[in-house]
Symmetry: C2
Subunit: 444 residues, 2 copies
Amino acid sequence: MAAHSDDTRSNSARASAGNRLDPWYSSYADRSLGMRASEVRSLFAVANRPEVVSLAGGMPNIAGLPLDFLAEMSAKLIRDRGAKFLQYGGGQGEEEIRTQIVEVMRYDGIHAHPDDVIVTTGSQQALDLMTQIFINPGDAIIAEAPSYVGALGVFRAYQAEVIHSPMDDKGLIPEALEETLKRAEALGKNVKFLYTVPNFHNPAGVTMSLERRPQIVEICKRHNVIILEDNPYGLLGFDSEPLPALQSFDPDAVVYLGSFSKIFAPGYRVGWALAPHAVTQRLILAAESAILSPNMVGQLSIAEYLKTYDWFQQVKEYRGMYRERRDAMLESLTEYLPSSTWTVPDGGFYTWVTLPEGLDAHAMLPRAVTHRVAYVSGTAFYADGQGRDHMRLSFCYPTPENIREGVRRLGTVIEAEKELVTMFGAQERHEHGPVIENPSTETH
Amino acid sequence: MAAHSDDTRSNSARASAGNRLDPWYSSYADRSLGMRASEVRSLFAVANRPEVVSLAGGMPNIAGLPLDFLAEMSAKLIRDRGAKFLQYGGGQGEEEIRTQIVEVMRYDGIHAHPDDVIVTTGSQQALDLMTQIFINPGDAIIAEAPSYVGALGVFRAYQAEVIHSPMDDKGLIPEALEETLKRAEALGKNVKFLYTVPNFHNPAGVTMSLERRPQIVEICKRHNVIILEDNPYGLLGFDSEPLPALQSFDPDAVVYLGSFSKIFAPGYRVGWALAPHAVTQRLILAAESAILSPNMVGQLSIAEYLKTYDWFQQVKEYRGMYRERRDAMLESLTEYLPSSTWTVPDGGFYTWVTLPEGLDAHAMLPRAVTHRVAYVSGTAFYADGQGRDHMRLSFCYPTPENIREGVRRLGTVIEAEKELVTMFGAQERHEHGPVIENPSTETH
């Protein structure tokens, strides 16, 4: 699989294989060699310049938070409970916040016990821990096509094989999933879990229909494949309350991930996993090994915020703000990208654009940045080099005015590209191999 | 190596191998099977009862922190800089705190650049990331005998082989380290790094002498083994300023880990690694995959505290408090444990006790807890089942009065055990195999 998995060279032989820039190059683990810096990272530094409209990042807009309330609340927590607030906690996280998390999950139709919840350093860490406890190198994971770039990065770090299964505008397609699983089994793959973002998908912007949810659960259960349900945006629906989580159809078959980063604020880095009891116990052991315990400051602050503030009203304000931005995005797409198509998200942060035939989102990105607009190429969201005909546009962070201006610039770039393709053909632009982009500004 | 590393069973075959308590039992990765709940965890629940004096935990005593100052400071940060304070940051951590960390490390004789520092979720995460990027299953790590239980847990989670190298009261013995490395190489081991806690060792309580430091660096460099220098207690010396870090003798040969948990407060979970530039870059990639970014609230809070408070005066107050507790510990050991020996720490949290011949710290622990005193058995600090003749006593958290009472109780238990051993012999008490204890209250 990797270059020196059976390496029995002596340490001094290893030394001579180092290079001038990194004397430790030949000492790294196989898994580390799979972790690559993003090709577009330098581009993202440019994309963050003020004159560039970034439709690339996934940063929530937290300008509406009640800062005075939070300032008072934090000061009071330190004064009244400083000895606990500033101390270590247990590896599972505080019961105080786990109890609140159980309440938050009721909106998704979940009836859980705080004992089955583990608090993590954002839901990203829960993704990492799940992969750590389930995946041997070479094991397979089913993921939507496309899938969240940050999850693909974790799966790659643990040397998993990612098998994509197709979606349509109602999310993951049950019949296709069944086929994907059967094909994988026939090839002798050891499929460990299905990773899915059922609500307001990142990057596809679609939501799994109610009808399909129990079907997906049933299929996975029959194939003995646990479901990893990642739901950071679930409460951010623009037009309706959340559909019931996959977890609610069969709690033994699903590990559910949640996060406060989008419904409150990312600065505390607090997310969670809800898992079948025995799986939770293993997640706790892995978490204690990785970080000892999640940060107490974030846990107590968020628990207090949930208890003493009308947090759901804040969620509704977020919904209104993001809805306005989604509308600005869709309207300007209609105006400026007449030859492309896109998904229509009912919530969340993203729309998924299909470019006119022959255009290559990956190759086009430097030119877009030159025209002061940035996006993420569709290639970032596949493990296998697909996605050049797609781009993800995010409407979470820029103002509606900036979104319109950004899409206008993008329209100009796309029209110019179309002319080039018409004149010279698309062939030579596809010369680069598959690449996983992992932009540093990417969040979820 | 592990049960099903070459497992090609189908998913449904796996299903039938599940058990009633955990339907996913047969799906876990090999590394997960090595993570075990502590045998003494239930004991620790008892140990945390108020009537028990715990000389077991590693929790710092943070009662002396300036809560009013911190309350004001936090409120002001939220009011003035809320949009940054509550937002995501970069994977490496904020330059603001990395610059301060460089200043803190000057006390250890380190001259570093903020670019080479990565902020982590406590130094525990830095330990985890280092192991992740360097260790393939089966690779070897040299660690002191004994070594920090939390590090041994990480090494085990990555399926490393730990080879212990002996210490004396001046720390790791250079000649013995040379021997250990030669023997490992002769056996074809792929030794990736040396893990060492040079100052106020956990659990041994000793400090590596100045003379030995460049020798240890030279030996490791010659054998192409990178040094992982873990220094959470370095500033907590009772009688003198810190010795220069191993890092200061050769920055290319050492990854240095630091933490704010002991010199300020653990509640923010902020630690760091300083590494050679190329290693830092890999640590950042691994950290982004694991958690996206460290929590902003902790980073900005600690940076502000370091900038605006006389933090080194707070360190001096900690030193005074822990010195008084160390003194109480040593005096009562002399009084109540006449037939044991122990190390004399010049700083930090721990002393390492050698029991009278024939006594077994592991077997004795339940009886000690019955007598309302708790400690950690020496077996927790070895990867290979050694350490039954040792116990770690911590003097960081209980008051001097409680320390004296705890040691008095321990003396009673030890005297009673000695009588039992005299009457019945020690043989049958050693029947259990090697065990790594990983008490949930353990910190570092």
